[in-house]
Symmetry: C2
Subunit: 337 residues, 2 copies
Amino acid sequence: MKKYHVAILGATGAVGRAMLASLEERQFPVGQLTLLASPRSAGTTLVFAGKEYPVEAVTPEAFAGVDIALFSPGASVSREYAPAAVSHGAIVIDNSSAFRMDPDIPLVVPEVNPHAVHRHHGIIANPNCSTIQMVVALKPIHDAARIRRVVVSTYQSVSGAGNKAMVELKEQTAAQLSGQDTTPRYFPHPIAFNAIPHIDVFLENGYTKEEMKMVYETHKIMEDDQIAVSPTAVRIPVLIGHSESINVETESHLSPDEARKLWEHAPGVVIVDDPSSNLYPLAIHAAHQDQVLIGRVRQDPTVPNGLNFWIVADNLRKGAATNTVQIAELLVKEGLV
Amino acid sequence: MKKYHVAILGATGAVGRAMLASLEERQFPVGQLTLLASPRSAGTTLVFAGKEYPVEAVTPEAFAGVDIALFSPGASVSREYAPAAVSHGAIVIDNSSAFRMDPDIPLVVPEVNPHAVHRHHGIIANPNCSTIQMVVALKPIHDAARIRRVVVSTYQSVSGAGNKAMVELKEQTAAQLSGQDTTPRYFPHPIAFNAIPHIDVFLENGYTKEEMKMVYETHKIMEDDQIAVSPTAVRIPVLIGHSESINVETESHLSPDEARKLWEHAPGVVIVDDPSSNLYPLAIHAAHQDQVLIGRVRQDPTVPNGLNFWIVADNLRKGAATNTVQIAELLVKEGLV
């Protein structure tokens, strides 16, 4: 079996580490492995398949000989190094927002639009975490009943903002429990025992960039800009796992049972929906696994064809790292690398 | 000025204590004060206006001479003692779910349907916390533009489940931070660093009782059962303060500016809506105050006439205690007591 030279840029970050774990767990055919980070984060070592690898400072030349480069730095670093990686012959799968809305660059969720990888010119973009888990759940519903409108409110964990945000939540919570005040550093307000309706920056229309990503990226991935999406993105004091309360209106009618049947046969989802046994998706259960949990499925009687449901996924895995590795698997399967 | 003999049943609970604080802060004309609780909770003392009062075990006779009885026990205790209190001549303002949907008993939010107090026959019901803050925000919008449909997702604090639930969140969080496991007692799952889409019991239609309260109570308080409400109620690790992500569709068009103008002149609300300065309603700011904070107001472009907004209120105060005291004030003002 052919093996590939894989690089990870941003290897020491929360998503970078999850990429490494995902490559190992999913037994991606890694031949050579190059771990890269900013000069500030370089110098440490990380373990892959029982072996220690040094994390090197990123340079354009570091991508020489690389087949697949998984990127998870900030958008500006992605913009700086993706062309260099591509010019060295690597295919870049980028988890930043840098290229997502570029019409020439595919934005891929393997369960939803796997065919889009074929049009790549060296870079494939990985969608935003909140969008990935939503479109995985929406796709079978859309195919069967055509979605007209989605009203979504998110309950997002702090790990979406990185390792340091997780440390902030833990330290701030401990401080508050012992009656001390702390000054927030990574969030605009204290996140301990609070809910903050503000993720990423505010735009002219009053929505945040995080919210508008859920609109635009959904259109691009679902290849249908007629799906109306009305989003509210909120950060809550959870470490890992984004939850979403989703209301959909469809063109044709779907009962909760019909929707569950569609999801039972859909890739990437697990139905957790037995309220009588207190079973529904929970962030603490979604953490550290790769699938989108769906539950609390019920008819919305306020519209002719409506459903309410609740989905949860690990934002570092399916919302980021796992999806990039799944794209890499797709490239291998389709003979594109 | 006339003073009243006020009793509080359930005085030692989270809401009972907030009732006591609210009576004092709002300078309700309390003459005599009787504090009552279950035999288990009786025996302690509580302070009102600098003076200690004993908490006595409730008996039917304890209501002799009482003008106004604020009730915040469980629904079964309310059902047991409200008739006794009324037969002794007291007006009962009951915060349990026991009488809310009884067509002969007014369900009152003073900012929304103050006139309803006139039809009381001894008992006035106080609505559910999530509903109170929502209808306070919806009322001016409905009056101006007629609300057709509401999709609401809640972010509810643990204090809605009482003092012991607050202790559970704190102890469980501390345990988790030091790597220990704990067994949940008051919630069906761990609430620390989690979001639980399950409040009160599940009904046949897949919704929880908490969710259906938001439908039925909204109809009764707004006196309009044509308002379609599609709710999802979720518990999150916040101590005090319920947040709600609200999407409304109206018959006539309202811009965010027009909505803000309506709220500026509406009772019981404060607009906190300056995203460029990171100002929006937060649970940690709403706690310990009486008003409903409204922000993140923005047009929903996915329907002809739609708005998204975010509201937060102290569930123990406006969501419970303050609203009962406001009803008592209304009784005094209208000469009904």
